[in-house]
């Protein structure tokens, strides 16, 4: 009876292996080439859409997209781990200088709850609020209540871009207050701000939904048009990075992303097309 149990176990193991191998065969299709992309999580949703559309046209090519953040995108393309890195800010001087392909631009929206009476701020006030100098809504035209500041964590491309464009200008730079709550996703900030009418945060334009209110800055509404025509002050570039000038199907893919068709997808995803 012992032998019987053992046989049964062997059969079980073999059948599991068979199923797995069948699955593996089923998944494999003829692939002429694979493009790998990783980096900025701001770029990630657009990159995913672009990859899906591209693969539909070129079924023989596989596009694998991933996140990791701008810094990861830069190092992994520099080390040759991926073909394309994604960055959601300018490259810093101490970072490897890679070939930049401007994919889109992205506005950073300053968001509050729709229930907050404040609908616009000056850039200076925004700086003072995030710097912890102005701490009550009554000082900026709201109700008498403490301001809850929510920011992205250190190292995030969105935060770095925000610090460079808002906190660092004009000199001297003000550091973000250490009383600010920290979230490590755009969605985390959006959800928190949507639920707390005294909160203020910043998120990428692509993540703005009706659950939050994007504030006007210096009287300029936070719209894609204003970002495109240069009047909205907090706009950053989104890049695809390659180590050298792109060639072959990597080049083909980037060209597709920059084409009218690709740029239409960029706009659909809430970013500012460059075409």
């Amino acid at each position: 009876m012992c032998a019987e149990a053992a046989t049964r176990r062997v059969i079980a193991v073999v059948s599991v292996l068979l199923t797995l191998s069948l699955l593996a065969v089923g998944c494999g299709r003829e692939v002429a080439g694979t493009i790998t992309e990783a980096g900025s999580t701001t770029v990630e949703p657009v990159a995913e859409r672009l990859a899906a559309e591209y693969v539909e046209k070129h079924p023989d090519i596989q596009v694998i997209t991933g996140g990791g953040g701008t810094a990861v995108g830069i190092t992994s393309v520099n080390n040759g781990l991926v073909d394309i890195g994604a960055a959601s800010r300018e490259l810093k001087a101490d970072e490897p200088q890679l070939v930049k392909h401007l994919l889109a631009k992205d506005g950073i929206a300053i968001v509050t709850s729709p229930h907050n009476p404040v609908s616009g701020l000056t850039k200076d006030k925004i700086r003072e609020i995030f710097g912890g100098i102005v701490t009550n809504w009554k000082d900026v035209g709201g109700s008498d209540h403490a301001i809850t500041v929510v920011v992205r964590e250190e190292g995030s491309g969105t935060r770095t871009a925000f610090e460079e464009m808002v906190m660092a200008k004009p000199e001297p730079a003000i550091p973000v207050t250490n009383r600010a709550l920290q979230q490590n996703t755009n969605v985390g900030i959006r959800t928190y701000v949507a639920g707390n009418r005294y909160a203020i945060g910043f998120i990428s334009f692509g993540y703005v939904t009706a659950s939050v209110k994007a504030l006007a800055i210096d009287g300029v509404e936070a719209t894609k048009e204003n970002a495109k025509n240069g009047t909205y002050p907090i706009v950053r570039p989104l890049y695809f990075l390659t180590k050298e000038a792109a060639t072959g199907f990597v080049k083909q893919f980037i060209e597709f992303c920059l084409s009218a068709e690709g740029q239409a997808i960029v706009a659909e995803e809430g970013y500012i097309s460059i075409a």
């Binding site: 701008t70 810094a71 990861v72 964590e153 190292g155 491309g157 250490n178 009383r179 709550l181 920290q182």
Partner: protein, 289 residues
């Protein structure tokens, strides 16, 4: 006969190798963490790292005192609530509850241990945080972390405490009752003191879980780098700090996160050895008596 000896010997060796492998994994993790942490520790200096109050990694400030205090506060807070609740529940399960209720409660408590911490975090975020915001502050706070951690360490405290209360020899209780003690006196003066080592160990293991918890806390404590002054202020314990920033950290920042991991490693080793010490002393005390 020979093949049997062969099987015996090979399986013994195999088990030995496997046991060594698991130890090797532990050593490898420790060595790797330390190696990755070294650049930050050297550049910042151990004292500045441990006692610095400003954490601004992208501007080169790496002080983790707010995080150490955050971990200590949140763990102590959770223990203050979880110990009376947990020990009370353990007494109920071990001595008071009729078997049928115990049959239902005990598996329920054990089930709590298996719930992934992210679920605790989610429930905390949806239920606890808005309630705390009603009281004041941003909601994401030390208090929210304490509530979530209390729920998380309760099952550990309950199940180990219950086992140790059950392990108190029957003759102690009978002796106490025979001498005219009430049930309460028996419980308070005889059973609990006899079970103390086990209860102590359960508390220390609970602290260990609280110190190591990252996922649930990162969702509810707010993670501001200022040192909290009131329970309604946000806090930033050590483990969730790694979880928060690990995605985008590069260079010295990444190394500093590993250095936080080393601090956690040391803390956990201390806490676990404490738990083992308490349990061993308890075992000896019982043996002597």
């Amino acid at each position: 006969m020979k093949t049997r000896h062969l099987i015996d010997r090979t399986s013994r060796n195999l088990i030995f190798v496997l046991a060594l492998a698991s130890f090797a994994v532990l050593v490898a993790i420790a060595v790797f963490t330390l190696k990755e942490a070294l650049p930050a520790l050297q550049q910042v200096g151990l004292l500045d790292f441990l006692f610095g109050t400003e954490w601004r990694p992208t501007s080169g400030q790496f002080g983790i005192l707010p995080m150490i205090l955050g971990t200590v506060m949140v763990a102590i807070g959770a223990v203050i609530f979880a110990v009376p609740l947990g020990v009370g529940c353990a007494i109920l399960l071990a001595e008071v509850a009729p078997p049928r209720i115990r049959q239902f409660l005990r598996p329920a408590v054990e089930l709590l241990v298996g719930i992934p911490s992210v679920v605790y975090g989610l429930v905390g975020l949806v239920l606890v945080v808005p309630l705390i915001r009603e009281i004041g502050g941003p909601g994401l706070s030390l208090a929210a972390g304490v509530v979530v951690l209390t729920a998380m360490i309760l099952p550990t405290i309950i199940s180990i405490s219950e086992d140790s209360i059950r392990a108190v020899p029957r003759k102690y209780k009978e002796g106490a009752l025979a001498l005219g003690a009430t049930e309460w006196q028996m419980m308070w003066r005889v059973v609990l003191p006899a079970a103390r080592p086990g209860i102590g160990a359960s508390i220390v293991l609970g602290i260990g879980r609280a110190v190591g918890e990252a996922m649930a806390l990162v969702m509810v404590v707010g993670m501001a780098t200022a040192i909290p002054i009131s329970p309604l202020d946000p806090a930033r314990p050590l483990a969730p700090s790694i979880a928060l920033e690990t995605n985008y950290a590069t260079g010295l920042h990444r190394s500093a996160l590993f250095a936080i991991a080393v601090v956690l490693f040391v803390l956990i080793i201390i806490i676990n050895s404490l738990a083992m010490m308490i349990m061993r002393r308890g075992a000896r005390a019982h043996g002597v008596r």
